[in-house]
């Protein structure tokens, strides 16, 4: 028994030291430490491709963006992080505000690929993929011509029909921030109150649950992310498939500013030990080959316009995007949360 305990301890220590044992400046240059909120198989695949192409080893720390940012703040100058990847613009903005990021090089290349609202004005972060926050509706109960914009959801005709998730969800916070930016604080607050008034049930569950609730008749219209609808349409769960089949997809605000989009993006850490490799990774992720992986395996909209959308996204057609600069989402995030609370959006 004692021997087993000893062996296990030795084993654990060895695993723990695996990293330390080969630490030297040379290896630092051959590795890239990625702090990421994305934990998709597409990303794993891309990092492997990057490793093969450049010989740079990619180490991944997966956690929520908030926690990663806290970690970087605390680690300060010695932070081993090279890049930070998040699934929303707000968090990247926050990281920038805290002085955690540095500008990306070769900005000309980036400008040639990305539209300006998808890049920080100081080039401290860059979008990798886009998702649209859209409406889905019960095909059998709602006439899509009756739908128009986020703002119109508060009309009395939708009373008891709306489904949305909790206000602690970052996508909802970003949507709210975009409404504050476009319509002003007062209207935004009234909008949130109207939404709560029209809710079919208390906010709960995730995006997929909202779609399932429509299918089950709990409500008729829900606010969800394109990305999850895409995943559900390709699910191997019969229930999810059926639910996704029962709903139609509607891109709101096509007649005015366009549908709210959010991004998954990347920034280079201020104290990156290996900024060269970090820049390399960013350019790698923006090239067509990598963008194709994002688009095909993850139902996200690629930011590189020369890459085609996946079949499902193509079927929904093109749409007008809200061209609001994504920096604003970060700046107004806190305001959005406060307005949610004041309006009683749980």
């Amino acid at each position: 028994m004692k021997n087993i305990v000893f062996l296990l301890l030795v084993f654990t220590v060895l695993v723990g030291c695996k990293n330390d044992s080969k630490s030297s400046d040379e290896t630092t240059l051959n590795q890239l430490n990625v702090y990421t909120h994305r934990h998709y198989d597409s990303d794993k695949q891309l990092f492997e491709m990057f490793e093969k192409e450049t010989g740079i080893k990619v180490n991944v720390i997966n956690s929520k963006a908030d926690e990663l940012i806290q970690k970087m703040v605390l680690e300060g100058e010695q932070s081993p992080a090279d890049v930070l990847i998040t699934v929303d613009a707000g968090r990247l903005h926050m990281a920038k505000e805290k002085g955690l990021l540095q500008p990306v090089k070769n900005t000309a290349v980036i400008d040639s690929i990305l539209s300006p609202n998808l890049v920080d004005k100081d080039y401290e972060w860059i979008a990798l993929t886009k998702r649209a926050r859209i409406l889905v509706y019960a095909k059998d109960r709602i006439d899509p011509t009756e739908l128009s914009s986020y703002e119109d959801l508060v009309l009395p005709k939708w009373e008891g029909k709306l489904l949305f998730r909790s206000s602690s969800n970052i996508y909802n916070q970003s949507l709210m921030a975009s409404i504050v930016a476009n319509d002003g604080e007062d209207i935004a607050k009234k909008w949130a109150q109207g939404m709560v008034k029209n809710q079919a049930r208390k906010p709960k569950g995730n995006d997929r649950d909202q779609v399932k609730a429509i299918a089950a008749g709990e409500g008729d219209i829900a606010i969800v992310n394109t990305y999850y609808v895409g995943k559900m349409l390709n699910s191997n769960d019969r229930v999810e498939l059926e639910a996704a089949d029962k709903v139609g997809v509607f891109f709101p605000n096509q007649k005015d500013r366009g549908t709210h989009i959010n991004i998954s993006g990347i920034g280079i850490a201020k104290h990156s030990p290996n900024p060269e490799a970090a820049n390399q990774l960013i350019h790698f992720l923006l090239n067509e080959e990598a963008q194709k992986v994002f688009a095909l395996s993850n139902y996200e909209y690629p930011v590189n316009p020369s890459v085609e959308n996946s079949e499902i996204l193509k079927a929904w057609g093109d749409f007008k995007e809200d061209s609001l600069h994504l920096n604003l989402l970060g700046e107004l995030n806190k305001k959005a949360v406060i307005l949610f609370d004041e309006a009683g959006w749980k």
Binding site: L8, L9, F11, T12, V13, V15, G16, C17, K18, N19, S23, N33, H39, N59, V60, I61, N62, S63, K64, D66, E67, Q70, K71, L74, E75, G76, E77, Q78, P80, M94, S166, S168, I170, Q173, K202, P203, K204, G205, N206, D207, R208, D209, K212, A215, A216, Y228, K231, N236, D237, R238, V239, E242, A243, N333, K334, V337, I338, D341, E342, K346
Partner: protein, 552 residues
């Protein structure tokens, strides 16, 4: 009258200080050091309090605090009820009655601990969802598309309660096995019925043991984030995360944690107080085990089997069925050999973490005993407070001091890179801080069971504290140490926020893997790593039970 004067003098400050100097020994120093080591994160957070809450404090207290308090209170009350009923009842039935499958059920009742609360939450939501297993089971009866809404306070209480009741089951059963028989026989001879004896005698006497389990349950409940967030129930802990991350105000989050901490602190004090009052509950002699069980006729026995199977069904079988169903669907996408490697790493980390946690719990327990200054002895109880702090907050509490150490090491040229952060040291340190209470509680109660005159005689026979510990107390504490070890092991295996923030690059755990899928709303894909967590946790649970049975 003259004596009265001199006796007051005995407790004048002059004499107290003299005695303090006399009683001060190296164990006092060690106790304080260990206490500091454990308390550094708590103290770090505590000092943050003096910065005051952030500007959104007003906003939170105006719009949200009432809701947090209400929900947390509901949750605490409902979970207490569920865990008490399931835990105490099943513990009593398995120790007191004979029925088919008893020996299997005895250890199956511990297993729900192995399922992380958030996984349980996902599994139940799926199970009762439209087109879920439950609605499929109902469809032959003509009920179509049925959904039982789990996503509310009641559902959350149920899910957490059913995954945490084993804490109470374990401590209540240990008490019933060792203490209850003599009392019960006496009561039966006085003509009191079995049921009445239980409620009038056994239950009140088992209270300290039960409350000790309940405190662990409540701390876990108040600490839950994943399940509460998914079910849309705003609790204190979701509030902490909201003010930290959404409102971008760590100060406010820390303020909220401090509030939560004081609630838990009051709970601990109450528990200690009532335990002190009820010290008569450990009779010195008497038969030490229930050596026979009541045998009813066959139909009644089967009823007992069914009743005791119910918590196992709800806490283990149903969620596992759901997970298995999902894992069959996602098998081809998720399963690969890496999972085995992940299991091995998870096992290794949990093993190392549990070893150190138990070690520190032992050190704290014994160093404080060997130290002769009473106030230091009572202060040592504070070491368990880490359990009350949300994991993410503990992580920050750990990183602030250890990073400044790391940076100093680099400045002084002792190291070229971080040697605490980003290595197992910080992670294991965090586990020790967080789970010390889980280890401390069974150790303390089993050390109380060793008659104090046994270590005393060892000392009188010329052995120092250390020799006495290794030669006498260690062998006698083995069972308590093992149950402490296993409880911590399982907790670490399930642990998420600390592991996410503090783990080294090259290490990945099953919980992190499951979380990756679940946080991307791929709950189904999380089922396979979740099942692996359960399997890995199962091994020590079985060991624990073997030991409990042997030493019962």
């Amino acid at each position: 009258m003259k004596q009265a004067g001199s006796s007051q003098e005995n407790f004048s400050w002059k004499y107290r200080i003299q005695r303090g100097i006399r009683d001060f020994n190296k164990w006092t120093v060690f106790t304080v050091l260990i206490l500091l080591f454990i308390a550094v994160p708590v103290i770090t957070i505590f000092f943050k309090l003096f910065d005051g809450p952030g500007e959104s404090w007003e906003h939170i207290s105006k719009y949200l605090l009432a809701d947090y308090l209400k929900n947390s209170l509901y949750l605490a009350i409902l979970c207490s009820l569920i865990t008490l009923i399931a835990g105490v009842f099943s513990a009593w039935v398995v120790t007191r009655f004979e029925f088919p499958m008893r020996t299997y059920l005895e250890w199956l009742l511990i297993i729900p601990l192995a399922i992380p609360g958030y996984i349980m939450a996902y599994a139940y939501a799926g199970f009762f969802d439209y087109g879920g297993i439950f609605s499929w089971l109902l469809s032959p009866f003509g009920i179509e598309n049925f959904k039982l809404d789990m996503m509310n306070v009641i559902g959350l209480s149920f899910v957490l309660g059913i995954s945490l009741f084993p804490y109470i089951y374990v401590s209540a059963r240990a008490f019933f096995l060792t203490q209850a028989l003599n009392l019960l026989e006496a009561s039966r001879l006085l003509g009191v019925s079995e049921t009445k004896s239980f409620f009038k005698l056994v239950f009140p006497l088992a209270r300290p043991a039960i409350v000790a389990g309940l405190v662990l349950v409540l701390m876990e409940v108040l600490n839950d984030y994943g399940a509460a967030e998914y079910y849309g129930v705003n609790t204190f802990t979701t509030g902490i995360f909201r003010s930290w991350f959404s409102l971008e105000e760590p100060e406010t989050a820390i303020y909220l944690s401090a509030l939560l901490l004081s609630i838990v602190f009051v709970l601990i004090i109450l528990e200690k107080y009532q335990r002190r009052k009820l010290q008569y509950t450990s009779p010195k002699s008497g038969r030490t085990s229930i050596d026979y069980r009541i045998q009813f006729n066959r139909p009644k026995q089967l009823v007992l089997t069914l009743l005791v199977s119910l918590p196992v069904l709800l806490g283990f079988i149903i969620p596992v069925i759901q997970l298995v169903q999902w894992s069959v669907r996602t098998f081809s996408e998720v399963f690969n050999q890496d999972l085995l490697w992940l299991s091995l790493q998870s096992f290794g980390i949990a093993f190392a973490g549990a070893c150190f946690t138990v070690l520190f719990a032992l050190l704290l327990l014994y160093f404080s005993k060997w130290n002769k200054i009473y106030s230091v002895q009572s202060a040592s109880k504070l070491g368990v407070l880490g359990y009350a702090i949300p994991g993410a907050v503990v992580a920050i509490g750990i990183m602030i001091p250890t990073l400044s150490l790391d940076k100093n090491f680099i400045d002084w040229g002792w190291a070229s890179k971080f040697i605490i952060n980003g290595t197992l040291i910080a992670l294991v340190y965090a586990y020790v801080v967080r789970f010390l209470a889980v280890a401390y509680q069974p150790l303390e109660s089993s050390s109380l069971k060793v008659n104090s005159s046994i270590p005393d005689s060892s000392k009188i026979l010329g052995m120092g504290n250390f020799k006495t510990f290794f030669k006498i107390e260690f062998p006698l504490l083995k069972a308590g140490m093992l149950s402490a070890f296993i409880l911590v092991f399982i907790d670490i295996l399930k642990e998420l926020p600390l592991t996410l923030i503090l783990k080294p690059y090259h290490i990945n755990t099953l919980a992190v893997n499951a979380y990756g899928y679940a946080s991307d709303e791929m709950v189904m894909h999380a089922s396979i790593p979740s099942l692996f967590i359960i399997l890995t946790a199962l091994i020590p649970v079985i060991v624990l039970n073997k030991l409990l049975l042997k030493n019962g």
